[in-house]
Each structure stands twice: as structure tokens, then as C-alpha cells.
């Protein structure tokens, strides 16, 4: 079997194996290390010797054996340090005919909920989810998040420590919607992280956006009929469908209105549209479904002009009522200006001018500049573009905004 295929199989089996080991023996922190070692052993042996009869069972057995070693080592260490005078290794139950074994899917869901537990910092939850559920190596995670391996190792260790200390049981929490919200938030952050880059880092990233989609697909399969899970998967597909059209060959960003829509991924759009169309009537209507519905309207339009801006403005209005977020308010103003003209948009922006989150926002000033220019006020537009360029911290965005400044300063 080719090592790439083995790698793929191992990544799919990661959460199932870890889930099974933790459910049987507890000790999430050590079980995670033991599972990683079992995966490593498989990655070297399987391409050479072929797949075992039952790959999952093989991994669980090897991981359990390794966990026993780790627990013994810990016991010995504790004895040496005399931290605990009386400390006995808990008898490890033998893997065997556990009839009440839940489906592997349940283990994966419990793992996701654990890795995204609200008590963890976002950075830790992201790192732990990518490793324990996504099956990515520390090196790959460090590369993807543009940081060092030591940093990732520290975050994972800290996350495992807080899970251990909090005594979160390895079971599905009963009726706590906040726990699922936390999972969705972590997955969406992983997705967005896939789009962050600076000069000279374009080639370094493992595709986090695709990894986030893969993990959300897994969650979607585990929780069919949860409208916000459907909504998040739809949103990711509908946004990612445009990724090939987002940048020029030189890496600079192309605004949606100027993108070559022929490059948009029709299959992903169809899937996303179908998902969100089916999810909306299920209720309750949450922020991910609304954002997916907006993305779907963009994706279905043949051009920026042909977009159903009235519908988009209405959806942003609903979103704004759920979440008083200035970024949403800004998008709402843009959509309104497309329907009712630049002055209507500028009137809405006036309400945001005193919001401290907006005064240094590059995007706020760029949108304002664009609307001022459309309304015919070139001088105010120029000043707003200059403010936007000053606020930008990304050189690519600064270049784009300075080009607008130059264009207004030297009209042809």
C-alpha cells in the first residue's frame, strides 16, 4: 500500500482509535501520546508489510499497550518523587468483547467536544483539535499556523493538562448547546486561519481551509439534521468555492466584484446551496445558516450587478439582530448601498463612526471611501482612502489602498 494512502487512512482512524482508548482506559493526556505512537508505528510498518486484517483494532491494541507502558513509567516516577505515597496502577481492563461499545462516530463526537471545551483557550483548542481529531502532526500544525513546533507542543500539553484537571468525563454532555457552539467556533476559526498569510508565506501552509471542511463534514455526518452544523459546512463550501479566483498570479487579492466567476467551483457551490436550502426550514435559524445564505446569493449571481442585494441586505439585517457586531453592520451598510444607493450606505456608516472598534478599522474606512467616491465626493473619498491605508497592517492591502489614493490624486 502506498504511504500516501496509509497516511490518509491513519488520519481518518485517528479520532476513532483515540476515542476507543480513552473510553476504555481514561487518561486522555497519556492516551493521546500513546495513540500518536501507535500511528507512528503504523506509518512505518504498514507501507512495508501491508495492512493488518483490522487496522483499527491493531492500532487500538498497540496504543493500549503503549498506554500501559506510559502509566507504569508515570507510576515509577511518582514513587521516586514520593509525591503520592500510596499510588496503585489502576488495573487496565483488557480490550475485548465490549458489547456496549458505542459506534465509532460517537467517540469522534465526544473527542471533538472535549478538544473544543470552552475552558480551553482558542489557540489550544485549535491545536488539540487538529492533532487529536484531524490527525495532523505537530510539524504540520506548526507549519499551518505559521508558528514553531515548540509553541504547538506547549499549547497541546497545556490543553491536555486542563482537560485532565477539569475532570471532564469522556461522555456526551447532556443538553448543553454551548458545547456544540464551541466546536463550531473552533472549526470556523481553523477555516479562517487557512486564509491568513503574509508576504513570503504563501507556499508554507497545509491547507487549513480544506482540513476545516473535512472536520466539519465529519461532524455533519455525526449530527445529521443540526441546522447550524449544516449551515457551517455550507458556509465553508460556499466561501471556499471562490478560492481559485481570489488571488492574482503575483499573490495580490482580487475583490469579489472583479473576480473571474468562471473559476468558482460549481460543485462546491451546488453542495453548499443544497445544504443551506435544506437547513433553513429546520430551524432555529442561526448565524452560520444566515452567512451561508448570503454566500449562496453571491455564488449564484452571474456578476456583482446581477446579485440579489435586496435579499442580502435583509439577511444582514436579521444577522445584525442576532449579533450586534460592527463587521456585520459594515456588510449590512454595503448591501444597503447596492440597493438604495451610496448615500443610504453612508447614513448607516455614520452610526458606526463613534464605535471604537471601527475608528482604526481599515475595512471601515475603505468601505466609506468607496461609498463617498460613488456619491461623487472625491475629496472626502481621497481622505478616507488615506486613512484606510494608514490603518492597514498588511502590505498587500496597503498597496491596494494606496493605488486608490494615487488614482484619485491623478485622475486620467
Amino acid at each position: 500500500m502506498a504511504s500516501l494512502e496509509v497516511e490518509d487512512l491513519l488520519r481518518r482512524l485517528t479520532p476513532q482509535v483515540l476515542g476507543a482508548v480513552v473510553r476504555r482506559y481514561g487518561h486522555f493526556d497519556l492516551a493521546e501520546d500513546a495513540t500518536q505512537e501507535a500511528l507512528l508505528a503504523a506509518a512505518t510498518q504498514w507501507p512495508r508489510d501491508g495492512l493488518p486484517h483490522d487496522p483499527r483494532a491493531w492500532l487500538v491494541t498497540v496504543a493500549a499497550r503503549r498506554l500501559t507502558d506510559l502509566l507504569r513509567a508515570e507510576q515509577a516516577r511518582r514513587r521516586r518523587e514520593e509525591i503520592v505515597a500510596q499510588w496503585a496502577l489502576t488495573e487496565i481492563e483488557q480490550p475485548g468483547a465490549d458489547q456496549d461499545r458505542p459506534a465509532d462516530g460517537d467517540d469522534t463526537l465526544v473527542l471533538l467536544l472535549m478538544c473544543c471545551h470552552p475552558s480551553l483557550s482558542m489557540a489550544s483548542a485549535i491545536a488539540l483539535t487538529l492533532r487529536a481529531v484531524g490527525g495532523l502532526s505537530v510539524t504540520e500544525i506548526a507549519r499551518a499556523l505559521l508558528t514553531s513546533e515548540q509553541t504547538i507542543t506547549r499549547r497541546i500539553t497545556r490543553a491536555k493538562q486542563s482537560i485532565k484537571n477539569s475532570g471532564v468525563p469522556f461522555a456526551l454532555p447532556a443538553g448543553d448547546a454551548g458545547r456544540l457552539d464551541a466546536v463550531l467556533r473552533v472549526l470556523y476559526l481553523i477555516f479562517n486561519e487557512g486564509y491568513a498569510s503574509t508576504v513570503g508565506t504563501q507556499l508554507l501552509r497545509v491547507d487549513l481551509a480544506e482540513e476545516a471542511i473535512r472536520l466539519t463534514r465529519t461532524l455533519h455526518a455525526l449530527l445529521p439534521g443540526d441546522s447550524e452544523v449544516d449551515g457551517l459546512l455550507a458556509l465553508m463550501l460556499l466561501v471556499h468555492a471562490r478560492h481559485r479566483a481570489r488571488t492574482r498570479a503575483d499573490g495580490s487579492l482580487i475583490p469579489m466584484a472583479e473576480q473571474d466567476r468562471g473559476l468558482w467551483d460549481r460543485t462546491a457551490i451546488e453542495e453548499g446551496v443544497a445544504l443551506v436550502t435544506a437547513a433553513l426550514p429546520l430551524g432555529p435559524t442561526g448565524p452560520y445558516q444566515l452567512q451561508a445564505a448570503i454566500a449562496a446569493l453571491h455564488d449564484e449571481a452571474g456578476s456583482a450587478q446581477a446579485t440579489d442585494w435586496a435579499q442580502i441586505a435583509a439577511l444582514y439585517g436579521v444577522l445584525l439582530r442576532l449579533d450586534d457586531n460592527p463587521v456585520v453592520a459594515l456588510n449590512h451598510a454595503v448591501a444597503v448601498s447596492m440597493v438604495a444607493g451610496p448615500r443610504a450606505g453612508l447614513t448607516l456608516l455614520q452610526g458606526l463612526e463613534t464605535d471604537s472598534r471601527m475608528t482604526t478599522s481599515r475595512r471601515f474606512h475603505a468601505v466609506r471611501a468607496h461609498l463617498l467616491e460613488q456619491s461623487g465626493d472625491q475629496a472626502a473619498a481621497l481622505a478616507a482612502y488615506q486613512t484606510a491605508a494608514r490603518c492597514a497592517t498588511n502590505t498587500q492591502q496597503q498597496r491596494y489602498l494606496n493605488q486608490q489614493v494615487a488614482r484619485l490624486q491623478n485622475p486620467t
Binding site: 514553531s148 513570503g200 508554507l204 503575483d250
Partner: protein, 140 residues
């Protein structure tokens, strides 16, 4: 034993303005100049990644966004944009882990091939500094 080194590069607010297309005392970079820089950095970083020597790398935002914190009569006081426009300040860094100081210097020397306007290339430099990491003697 491999030791870590930091490679540092420097630029002024004026250099950043020229690079991002804002009129200043210097001619602004063309889109080709800017794209060539990105392509060079991508290739440079990829090579370090493939050789296993790259620990971390970052580029820093325009110096004008800097804040300086210092004590005044025992109280921390913040100054926005503390640098003069022509003052060269840290612009980016790489942390590399490699066999020797000479190897780290060799890596830094390759930055001499970084494309850019001639007047900038003429005064550009990179510093290489060993990172102070305490290793217990018995692990030597």
C-alpha cells in the same frame, strides 16, 4: 548540537511606504517589484523548511503602527509611532536551527539575492545573532 540563530532584517517607515505604493521621498515599487519580493521569500522559506532548518519566520507591519511602552515615574506610558520616518527598525526575522554560526551566516547571505529597487539593495543588510538558550551541561 544544533543551535538556534535569529536572522534580522531592517527597514524604515519611508522604505515601507515606497514598498506599499505610497508617495514619499523614494520612488514607489511597481507591482512587479512587489511580486518578485513575494516570490523570492516564498522560495527562500520553502528551501529552509525543506532542509528542516526553519523554526519560525515573520514579517512585521509598517513601523508607524508600533507602540512603545516605558516607565515614567514608575508608571508604564505608551507612545504611538515612536520612530523617525528614516529610522531603520526591525522589519522581519527568521529563527533557524542549524549546525553552525557559519551555516546561519550562509543562509543570511542568500538574502543578498532578494530583489528590490537598486537604491534599497545598496544599503540593505541582515544581522545574524545566536539565541541565548541555556542547555544543562550534562546534556551537552
Amino acid at each position: 548540537m544544533a543551535v538556534k540563530y535569529m536572522i534580522l532584517t531592517f527597514a524604515s517607515q519611508q522604505d515601507y511606504q515606497a514598498m506599499t505604493g505610497q508617495g514619499s521621498s523614494q520612488p514607489v515599487w511597481t507591482q512587479e517589484d512587489y511580486a518578485a519580493l513575494g516570490a523570492f521569500m516564498d522560495a527562500f522559506n520553502k528551501e529552509l523548511l525543506d532542509s528542516g532548518e526553519l523554526v519560525e519566520t515573520r514579517g512585521l507591519s509598517t513601523p508607524v503602527h508600533s507602540r512603545r511602552v516605558r516607565l515614567q515615574e514608575g508608571v508604564p506610558v505608551v507612545t504611538d509611532g515612536p520612530y523617525a520616518e528614516s529610522e531603520e527598525v526591525l522589519a522581519g526575522y527568521w529563527v533557524v536551527e542549524c549546525a553552525s554560526f557559519d551555516r546561519a551566516t550562509e543562509i543570511a547571505s542568500r538574502l543578498a539575492n532578494c530583489p528590490g529597487p537598486d537604491h534599497l539593495r545598496a544599503r540593505a543588510y541582515a544581522d545574524v545573532r545566536p539565541i541565548d538558550e541555556h542547555q544543562p551541561d550534562f546534556e551537552g
